[in-house]
Symmetry: C2
Subunit: 245 residues, 2 copies
């Protein structure tokens, strides 16, 4: 497929939890790295983009999981910028076994933010052309995330080590706060089958955040809803459908 970029990756033990499968936060960190590598490869890395006074922000992911990568497993991580419109870029990721079995598919929405105004900036040909993605007029949106009704919550401090070398709280870190709300029994019984997460605002070093959650279970399904808040302001929201391990 034109414009698809793939790297091989061996899953290290420290990116896996007690289930010996990959932490969601580590999986997200890896796929972002692969998209940065593609951008560098196409000479559209962060230095190139920053000269226009803009930076990439990630607004939403949908993650479809058939199973999580296992400790020691060699996986193929691919990405492709599939399409874009005036303000949004749509990028897919795939995690596959060496034999080509799809384990995870991610559909993501990126946008360019102006450093000074902090507003979304329109996508320019200069930045997007080398990715060979399709120009579309339609604005695609992921499904709306249901609001929490009876939320419980855990507090977290945003740590120094939560900020990466790009000077941002990495999107992957939000999953540390989300997952930690669910207990040992839950997390060793269930694994995620579908994740829908939306990033509204970026938390900063030193912030004290509340990770709200609600577990919705009935005969047929196990679902959790999540919101990352500071005071009444929502920074991130997510829903996760779970299946038995």
């Amino acid at each position: 497929m034109s414009g698809k970029y793939t790297v091989s990756y061996e899953v290290p033990y420290y990116e896996c939890d007690v289930n010996a499968t990959m932490k969601i936060s580590s999986m997200i960190a890896i796929i972002i790295k692969v998209s940065e590598e593609q951008s560098d490869y196409l000479n559209r890395g962060s230095d190139f983009v920053h000269q226009f006074g803009v930076t990439w922000i990630l607004t939403q992911y949908e993650v479809f999981l058939s199973r999580l990568p296992k400790v020691g497993e060699t996986i193929l991580v691919s990405t492709q910028a599939t399409s874009y419109n005036k303000f949004f870029c749509y990028r897919n990721f795939w995690i596959e076994t060496k034999e080509g079995e799809e384990l995870v598919r991610v559909e993501s929405i990126f946008a360019l933010m102006n450093y000074t105004t902090r507003k979304i900036s329109s996508v320019t040909e200069e930045i997007i052309a080398p990715f060979e993605s399709e120009k579309i007029t339609k604005i695609k949106r992921a499904p709306k995330i249901p609001a929490l009704n009876q939320a419980e919550s855990l507090p977290f401090r945003v740590r120094f080590y939560d900020i990466d070398s790009n000077h941002h709280v990495n999107n992957s870190v939000y999953f540390n706060w989300i997952i930690e709300c669910l207990d040992y029994n839950f997390l060793t019984t269930y694994e995620p089958a579908y994740i829908n997460i939306r990033f509204d605002k970026e938390v900063e070093y030193g912030n004290l955040i509340e990770s709200q959650y609600e577990i919705i279970s009935d005969d047929d399904r196990m679902k959790t809803l999540h919101a990352i808040k500071i005071g009444q302001t929502k920074y991130c929201e997510a829903e996760i459908d779970w299946k038995k391990r």
Copy 2:
């Protein structure tokens, strides 16, 4: 050098902090992985060791740093089991540039713990022979870590994601709790030059730990002392000498 095992590693952005240098916790996680790889390579991996009812525990590190690895840098990570006596195994690690410049040297002390009694078990030829390390009678100890006088502290919950696929709180995680006590200004002004850390007991999932710290600064030096405690019980202690970045 006989018995030395080396792997090449490219430092990813998400294992670096805002200084664009490697997090100490990530550096420790990597070196442990390399020693596990050597053990697997010599058919002395965890499955082999576990059949004798014992498991490796790491009791102490001394880390000597000339500089931290940088984001995107390809480093060579080497390890060698240098010597052992009746109860302790001494293992060194080195992190070097591709050109052979030594960035970090680590001297560590491992022991075998009996699963049932939780006591130190003597080192057997069967387990140690393939590493070609020297049998010694002397018991080497790292320098004693000074006690804290006027400690401040921050509380941390041991998180689900702090437990790795070996079902333990990874030694590297203690550095997350230690480093977080120092503030942004400190951590962007100084980098570690020497770390001496000792693990006394293992914390467990759900524990609420106190990360105690004390900053000792005078004209010539910047030193921090650390202790990880639950109640009055010390689980880990460390001292770090810092130098200007």
